[in-house]
């Protein structure tokens, strides 16, 4: 615990990351308490109302109101829930798939490894966004399909790192000794190798969250994510785009929210990587 605290204090950027991520998670959990207004209640008298603190103010809305008079601050606060749920679900799914396939590839070797790694290559040879469009175009836009796409595009990073770790763990003495003691392959993989690759997987997962948040908002922006009236940050941005000349606050604040979350998660992920294992540093 003391080591953790010292590591946090020594890295200002890590501290910023932890604070940003903490605020984000807290906002998502406490959304009903924090939001000053109902995020979907329509108030046409106040449509496109300016933020309270601007020259055009004073309105009732701290960050202004959108084209239907809905409170933008409340929509951003509620939107954090959707962002968090989508990101965590997608990353847990892609992580589980990627870790499993990476373990199998590294542990079994031979044709299993070749097939799995070739699959990863194929996945990586379709630019992400186009793959997402292909799948959403086929299945139709919905929350569930969005999560499926995000999960399917993320597993390769987990698989590659876990395979590499597994390859080196496989030859270590402690694995040799349990093998000599007669443990089955499945048991060695699950009980002895899996716990040792989890650190690497957690670091990848953190950085994946950042990627998923961006991709989710981009797809929602293109109209392929969540459907109205739910308050998704990407959707808010897409709707605000039509009012860019008259009401800049519609598109600006959701963008700032996405930026802060992604920045926070990136900083946190970098810090986590250095904390757990400086060797893992992959230059990005």
């Amino acid at each position: 615990m003391r080591r953790l605290w010292r590591a946090i204090r020594r890295s200002p950027s890590g501290l910023v990351g932890i604070v940003l991520v903490g605020v984000f998670i807290f906002t998502a959990i406490a959304a009903p308490v924090l939001a000053p207004m109902d995020p979907v209640s329509i108030d046409l008298a106040n449509r496109l109302g300016a933020p309270t603190w601007t020259l055009e103010g004073p309105g009732a809305h701290p960050l202004g109101a959108d084209q239907l008079g809905r409170d933008i601050l409340s929509r951003i606060i509620w939107g954090s829930r959707i962002t968090l749920v989508v990101a965590v679900t997608a990353v847990v799914m892609s992580g589980a798939l990627g870790v499993l396939l990476g373990l199998l590839a590294g542990f079994l070797g031979g044709w299993a490894e070749r097939v799995i790694m070739r699959l990863a290559d194929v996945q990586l040879s379709i630019p992400l966004m186009l793959f997402a469009l292909l799948i959403i175009g086929a299945l139709g836009p919905s929350l569930f399909n969005l999560i499926i796409v995000l999960a399917l595009t993320g597993w390769t990073r987990f698989a590659r790192i876990v395979r590499g770790e597994t390859l080196s763990l496989r030859e270590r003495e402690f694995v040799m000794s349990v093998r000599a003691a007669g443990a089955t392959g499945l048991r060695i993989m699950m009980r002895h190798i899996l716990p040792n690759v989890m650190t690497a997987a957690i670091v990848v997962a953190t950085l994946e969250v950042a990627r998923v948040v961006i991709l989710e908002s981009a797809l929602s922006f293109l109209g392929m994510g969540l459907q109205p009236p739910e308050a998704s940050w990407g959707r808010m941005l897409a709707e605000g785009r039509d009012y860019i000349a008259s009401a800049w606050w519609l598109a600006t604040f959701p963008g700032v929210a996405i930026l802060l979350v992604v920045l926070g998660v990136n900083l946190f992920g970098d810090w986590l990587r250095d904390y757990f294992d400086p060797k893992l540093q992959e230059n990005r």
């Binding site: 040879s125 379709i126 900083l267």
Partner: protein, 306 residues
């Protein structure tokens, strides 16, 4: 030597086959094309006839093989929306996407390399802090939002530049900057850390000991080696550029492949989606193959290792 090249070529062909298989499966997930094509009033007999015409009553494997045969001839079917072969619709838009991605890559490489070098050489100063702070924020900025903000500032408020469309040089400035941001930030961060590593190497100490001037040590001895990881990353960055192009083209009404694919999804014009995804993926695979081959030519260690 030729084994390495042949191996990479084979890998690329397998990847292309994989992409085509995914596109084929996605097409089957869309639902029954016969039902989509016919009016709602069509009878079951009409649907059955349509299915037969489209070859949908044949075994799946046979459909797959005929799909591959058609694709090899560049035939992805006809676009409902454009009433022309889907492949033609996509190929027409390709130059616009190349132009945008190319300019963005140039900006990204130029600005990213300068920023990365400056940050590495000005270690511990305010300059490094600023350069890396901007790069971190650049990597975290959603490009569709950046595009909107740039339109707001430079097209709506200041009215210096057009908000969209393709035309003269002034039209490409905002979309290219938007698309280049992520690339610039990634290159700057990568080059900085790789330069810092290289500067610790023995051969740099030797270069100093020989009494070489800083310009020669930094640029000729250090920067050249520090750039190697950056070059390897260009393949990955190309994928990011194509992904980013989809969004950038939509914001700036840039008539490229990404925009036509997004529009095709809205109108359920799936032939165009398939053709667009395939063409971009094949270009991406080809680009990566090219990068690897050039790399193998430049650096013999890679050929031998594999």
């Amino acid at each position: 030597m030729s084994g390495y090249f042949a191996g990479r070529l084979l890998e690329s062909l397998v990847a292309i086959l994989g992409v085509l298989t995914i596109v084929f499966i996605a097409a089957r997930l869309t639902g029954d094309p016969a039902v989509l094509l016919l009016p709602i009033s069509a009878s079951d007999a009409d649907i059955a006839r349509m299915r037969q015409e489209l070859g949908l009553d044949r075994p799946l494997l046979e459909q797959y093989l005929s799909f591959l045969a058609n694709v090899l001839r560049g035939d992805f079917g006809v676009s409902f929306e454009h009433h022309r072969p889907a492949m033609q619709v996509v190929l027409e838009r390709l130059p616009a996407t190349f132009e945008l991605a190319g300019v963005a890559l140039l900006i990204g490489a130029a600005v990213g390399i300068v920023a990365g070098l400056v940050a590495a050489l000005a270690r511990g100063t305010v300059l490094e802090l600023i350069a890396m702070g901007v790069a971190l924020i650049g990597q975290a900025t959603p490009i569709f939002w950046l595009g909107i903000v740039l339109i707001l500032v430079f097209a709506v408020e200041l009215q210096w530049l057009p908000a969209g469309g393709r035309g003269g040089l002034d039209h490409i400035i905002l979309p290219a900057i938007t698309l280049a941001t992520f690339t610039t930030a990634s290159i700057a961060r990568l080059l900085r850390s790789s330069m810092i590593e290289v500067l610790k190497e023995d051969y740099i100490r030797t270069a100093w000991a020989k009494g070489l001037v800083p310009r020669i040590v930094y640029l000729r001895h250090a920067a050249r080696n520090a750039l190697i990881p950056v070059i390897t990353m260009i393949g990955i960055l190309a994928g990011e550029l194509f992904s980013g192009a989809v969004v950038t083209e939509t914001i700036f009404s840039w008539p490229g492949v990404g925009r036509v694919v997004v529009q095709a999804i809205e109108t359920k014009d799936f032939a165009v989606v398939q053709a667009g995804v395939t063409v971009i993926s094949v270009i991406f695979i080809g680009f990566n193959l090219l990068v690897d081959l050039l790399y193998g030519l430049v650096d013999p260690r890679i050929r031998i290792a594999s």
